[in-house]
């Protein structure tokens, strides 16, 4: 009896879904070990997590509020990775988007909300997009590795933002806290439900996911992105403008991450600070991988990741188990997806034929 691996011709959609779900589940199972080591009961801990994430209108609102930027950064990673453009810089692009929104929306323009909101969104999209377009041009011209550049730019951008909010953008009324001047009332997103934090940014995320899904399936651009991502040489030979397509992907990817930043300042904080994002850009990579780079899947994966974070906070308050458990779950589910993708490419075959002598 032996175990063999056979290459798989094509993985069905059901199998892809199963791998994503199983990855999340296995991650939760493994994390049960440290939960027990911390003296908790995994069942009650996970029950508390689920209640903390979905157990009330307030909990649900908090989860969706947390999922909003993750949907957008997840989409940013998904669209870039589809084109084999490795955008690791969503964190920096998010801050640039937020910065642009504050620059435009805190007094520079005086507009009614119907114009102001689109204005800060366009500014944020372009600022985030530019942060990805430049590394892509460097890659095309000089062969510079976009992974390194976008990753390191994250730190550059955050330091730049810190400089601005300690200096020219500092809010004089903030009692010395390092934060920017606030957005005008016209530039703020409305809440979806009164007294709950979920805001219109969630609808922006959902709309972006649907538009991206349509783009991937129905448009010439989606077709060209797929061709360029899967086989650059054949795409170029067939007359698809490879560099131009990559730049469009870069603009969309960085722009989506920028929109995540716009949503955080316009929907949640109303001012720019250096703790605007607890790593939404990096978590977006996990979201995209869990979603198998599917736009609609990114929405579900973002809600899952958000629920883990929100639920773990609440569980931690109730049991005293550290909320770092959430980071463990997220990291492990990424690892599980990577292992799971192996089973999308290969089939395990149990071979119990007796060997004839």
């Amino acid at each position: 009896m032996s175990l063999r691996l056979d290459p798989r011709a094509d993985a069905s959609i059901g199998l892809r879904l199963a791998v994503s779900f199983a990855s999340g589940l296995v991650a939760l199972l493994i994390v049960a070990i440290p939960v027990m080591a911390a003296g908790g009961n995994p069942f009650s801990a996970y029950l508390l997590m689920a209640q903390g994430a979905f157990g009330s209108m307030f909990a649900l609102s908090e989860t969706l509020n947390r999922a909003t930027p993750l949907i957008l950064t997840g989409l940013a990673a998904a669209i870039a990775f589809r084109a084999r453009l490795w955008n690791i810089g969503a964190e920096g692009q998010l801050y640039m988007g937020a910065l642009a929104a504050v620059l435009v929306g805190s007094g520079f323009l005086q507009l009614p909300p119907a114009l102001m909101i689109p204005a800060i969104m366009i500014a944020g999209f372009l600022a985030g997009g530019l942060m990805m377009v430049v590394p892509t041009i460097l890659k095309q011209r000089f062969g510079a590795d976009e992974v390194v550049i976008t990753l390191l730019l994250n730190f550059v951008v955050i330091l730049f933002v810190q400089m601005l909010i300690e200096g020219p953008l500092k809010d004089p009324l903030a009692m010395g806290w390092p934060q920017s001047v606030p957005l005008l009332a016209e530039a703020r997103f409305d809440k979806l439900i009164p007294r709950l934090r979920t805001h219109w940014g969630l609808l922006v995320g959902l709309l972006a996911a649907i538009l991206l899904w349509l783009m991937v399936r129905k448009t010439v651009l989606g077709f060209e992105i797929k061709a360029v991502g899967e086989n650059k040489a054949a795409a170029r030979f067939a007359g698809i403008p490879v560099d131009g397509t990559m730049l469009k992907v870069a603009l969309i990817s960085g722009g989506l991450a920028g929109l995540a930043g716009v949503g955080e300042v316009a929907g949640v904080k109303f001012y720019l600070s250096a703790d605007l994002s607890p790593g939404f850009g990096y978590s977006g990579i996990v979201v995209a991988m869990l979603a198998g780079l599917s736009p609609i899947g990114s929405v579900l994966a973002a809600i899952f990741i958000a629920a883990v974070f929100v639920g773990a906070d609440s569980m931690s308050r109730a049991t005293g188990i550290s909320s770092y458990i959430a980071d463990l779950v997220v990291a492990l589910s990424l690892l599980c997806v990577l292992v799971g993708s192996f089973f999308l490419r290969f089939r395990l075959i149990l071979d119990n034929r007796k060997a004839e002598a």
Binding site: A9, D10, K218, T219, V220, L221, G222, F223, E224, K226, A227, E230, N231, A233, A234, A235, R236, F237, A238, G239, I240, P241, D351, R353, A355, E356, A357
Partner: protein
């Protein structure tokens, strides 16, 4: 030379994949010192049979037996490559299985012993040196495999098999990746190995080389044994008919009818001397209704000519004009829209996106044209309809328009590309190695299509390393050597040896006579 007990014996091997019977009761004997050619079209079951022999697949019926040390045939356990290796069966796959970042020596030893056993390394080296001396498989053992040429990599693969004391050597399409010169060298080695007592199975679909190297030929067709004959009394024509199962229609060519020049190169230079795409001072014109054959040893600048006509490059010096307009910008899409059909040299790598569907690949060059998309939205219905028509017209064998292109065989990928580029009735056709790796049936189909396009008035350039192919197609020969192109004149005034001299870079007497 034939001994009563064979080295290897396959009896009634049958293998089914779902409803497809890939091998149907095939029997085969191989004797010591014999080179057996296994001949058949793509999909005839050659590779399946060898994968069963080597233990990659498990047969549904039948027995594989190998001559044991005691002089009797013993059955080999099915589905065990280890057992096949142990019994002295070595296989050289079409796609090499070498670790690119290790030296030739380490690759040969890989899998048989630990890489950190210092004492054995020297022993291995001297054993391999002996094998090299005996077989003539010259290769630098200390160079990393990724710096070796394709021919050298193949030699490392063969050495790997011999190092494991192979008594039976299976070569799957060994010449598909070799230049004619390298193939010649391989044949010399195989004859020498056979003379030393090795049994060789040589899988191919090229008649010429099979006749040149083998002792015995077995022809497979549609999973069955179609015939078996000794090479000495084999006849080219008869084997071809056995392979295809019907009389092969020889492509009959009439003279072309050259008209106006459609694309011309005037004193074109490209790249730096020594680069494989470099061209120096190249001038020629492609005329309507004429097939130009570009002959030359691979790597002498053919890539440069192809890059120019594909729209991937523009001349560094000199001018290229298309329909009397100079081309100043490298743009494949531009050339496609102006009626240039381009078949890439490496059709799997440059021709198709494997993970996209047949329909997507057929539409790829025209995806922005109004017939296939509107306002940036794909017209999937039109794309599928076009793919369906192409599949029918060009006989692309595939499950349907939605099948992924990577599932197609090489011949069918080429048919897909033909369908893509010829559908628009192009004025100019670049056919780069149009039939490399294709079986006879597919070859004559491609040739027929190219000649039909010429008769319609297209200007055609065929780049090929196969002189037989060029003599089948070309009205006029150009020969390329070290980036220089010589006009050799009309095909009927030429013979193989004249072309051969030009390919070797000897300046011809006829050049001065013709011009």
């Amino acid at each position: 030379m034939t001994k009563p007990i064979p080295l290897l014996s396959l009896q009634n091997i049958t293998k089914r994949f779902g409803t497809l019977t890939a091998n149907d009761a095939i029997s085969l004997d191989l004797h010591e010192g014999e080179i057996l050619a296994l001949l058949g079209e793509n999909g005839a079951g050659k590779t399946t049979l060898m994968n069963i022999l080597f233990g990659h697949y498990v047969q549904d019926e039948g027995i594989v037996s190998v001559l044991g040390a005691d002089g009797t045939l013993a059955p080999l356990p099915p589905g065990s490559p280890g057992a096949a290796l142990g019994a002295g069966i070595g296989m050289v796959h079409q796609h090499f299985t070498l670790a690119e970042n290790l030296s030739g020596l380490d690759n040969i030893r890989l899998g048989t012993e630990a890489l950190l056993s210092f004492g054995q390394r020297q022993a291995a080296r001297s054993k391999i040196a002996n094998i090299i001396a005996e077989s003539g498989l010259e290769v630098d053992l200390d160079r990393r495999v990724d710096s070796l040429t394709v021919g050298e990599k193949q030699r490392v693969e063969i050495l790997k098999a011999l190092y494991r004391d192979a008594r039976v050597l299976i070569l799957d399409e060994p010449t598909a990746v070799l230049t004619p010169q390298e193939a010649e060298g391989l044949f010399v080695v195989l004859r020498r190995l056979a003379a030393n007592g090795l049994g060789v199975i040589f899988i191919s679909h090229k008649l010429g080389e099979v006749l040149a190297v083998s002792h015995r030929i077995m022809v497979l067709r549609g999973g069955r044994k179609a015939g078996e004959l000794t090479t000495a009394d084999a006849d080219r024509r008869a084997i071809a008919d056995l392979m295809v199962g019907k009389a092969v229609a020889e492509v009959k060519r009439s003279r072309g009818n050259p008209g106006a020049p459609l694309l011309s190169l005037n004193k074109v230079s490209l790249g730096k001397p020594g680069q494989h795409m470099a061209l120096h001072d190249v001038s020629f014109a492609l005329k309507s209704g004429e097939v130009i054959g570009l002959a030359g040893v691979s790597g002498n600048g053919q890539t440069g000519i192809a890059a120019l006509i594909s729209g991937l490059a523009v001349p560094d010096a000199g001018t290229m004009t298309l329909f009397d307009q100079p081309i100043t910008r490298a743009s494949p899409r531009d050339l496609v829209q102006r009626g240039v059909a381009r078949m890439p040299e490496d059709r799997q790598h440059d021709g198709v996106v494997g993970t996209m569907s047949v329909a997507d690949n057929i539409a790829m060059e025209d995806i922005r044209s109004p017939g296939l998309s509107r306002f940036g939205l794909l017209d999937r219905k039109a794309m599928r309809a076009r793919a369906k028509a192409a599949i029918a017209d060009y006989d692309v064998r595939c499950p349907g328009p939605d099948a992924e292109a990577r599932l197609l065989s090489g011949g069918n990928v080429q048919k897909l590309i033909l369908a893509r580029v010829l559908e628009r009735e192009p004025r100019i056709i670049l056919a780069n190695q149009p039939t490399r790796g294709l079986d006879i049936g597919a070859q004559s189909e491609v040739h027929r299509r190219i000649l039909a396009a010429r008769d319609r008035g297209a200007a055609v350039i065929v780049i090929s390393e196969d002189l037989d192919e060029l003599f089948t197609l070309a009205d006029r020969f150009l020969v390329i050597h070290a980036g220089h192109v010589v006009d050799a004149g009309p095909a009927e005034t030429l013979d193989r040896s004249t072309i051969g001299l030009l390919m070797a870079g000897q300046s011809p007497i006829r050049e001065t006579m013709a011009s």
